[in-house]
Symmetry: C2
Subunit: 206 residues, 2 copies
């Protein structure tokens, strides 16, 4: 074969393969007719749990939806996204409820009270028919430390109004939450710059 | 022990543990002094690769940084984030370069030309001293189909100006890119609603 015919052959094979994928995808898409409010869990030790939730908030904003973001563990560093939320005051409510990381407060009784307050805020947003999406950022951390009973949290989320999306982030998601979820992603750490001595930087970690 | 003393004991143990974690974290943070432009790769079969990049764009916006987002594979559905980008026209440049998914075009020659055009756009943004962060969305897909040579792409990213962050998304990141990266996360699929017949929904998939 000349180069030109080899290339034409490659193109033809590729195009046939793509046509096949296209047909399979169209079939798959046609089979998906259910529309429902999802429980989404972003867990794992890698990066991207909160940032992926933020990305979904961006998409929801773009579709005119209303979103509430409740932060259970206030990272002093997580500040960048606030500027974006503030640009859409009618669509996004942002509530940082935690008062610093738990290893900084060293006061379990206060941590539990703050967790309860944040959870009450989440429940109120879940019940609010005006709100389309509720992000419970780092709720998994609070569950891990048993500041809130897992059963109570899962039951309230499972019993949410139809059509409401709830996104829960944080490592160590409890199994009961994973079982109840529609979409679960484990952000798996492959490589992290902290391990090479790189410090937290604007735009990346905060 | 009475309930009250048991509780006091639990609190004391917890607080001591948190103090220990706090000390370890402070030491770790002090050791991290390097500030550098990162190559970040979001790969894997799960959700969150592009949305996590969007979340980082939000943070960068909040810190007054300039960002370019180049989309190699235009998902007809990915439209929500544009509204957010458009709210910060001086900070975000958004360029959807692909002309539909490859399985829709079925034209390998055209796909290669479009990939080359998008890559040229990425290279120009990497070279531009005004831009702090460049997102090459779904570049991995294009590399997977060999529409661009991996060596050329990796060399150009590795040779980027100091301080420039580059984020590459898409499943099947090539090993050479992972080797060159500072931060790699594999978004691992645990559960996906498509498998239960749930269709793509506004705010979640687009």
């Amino acid at each position: 074969m000349t180069d030109a015919t080899a290339d034409a052959d490659l193109n033809a094979k590729h195009n046939a393969k793509m046509a096949k994928i296209q047909t399979a995808r169209a079939k798959m898409m046609a089979e998906r007719q259910i529309e429902k409010g999802l429980l989404i869990v972003n867990t794992g030790t890698g990066k991207g749990k909160t940032t992926a939730a933020l990305g979904m908030v961006c998409r929801a904003i773009g579709h005119g939806q209303k979103v509430a973001v409740i932060q259970f563990v206030k990272g002093a560093l997580k500040t960048g996204e606030k500027v974006v939320f503030d640009a859409f005051p009618d669509q996004v409510e942002f509530k940082p409820m935690g008062e610093g990381f738990t290893w900084d407060t060293q006061d379990r009784a206060r941590d539990i009270a703050v967790a309860r307050e944040a959870w009450d805020a989440v429940k109120a947003r879940i019940a609010d028919p005006e709100i389309d999406m509720v992000v419970a950022d780092e709720l998994n951390i609070v569950l891990r430390y048993e500041y809130l009973p897992v059963d109570e949290v899962v039951a309230a989320i499972v019993g949410r109004p139809e059509g409401k999306h709830v996104i829960v982030t944080g490592r160590n998601a409890p199994q009961a939450l994973i079982d109840a979820a529609d979409l679960v992603t484990d952000m798996t750490l492959v490589k992290h710059p902290f391990r090479s001595g790189v410090k937290a930087q604007a735009g990346i970690e905060f």
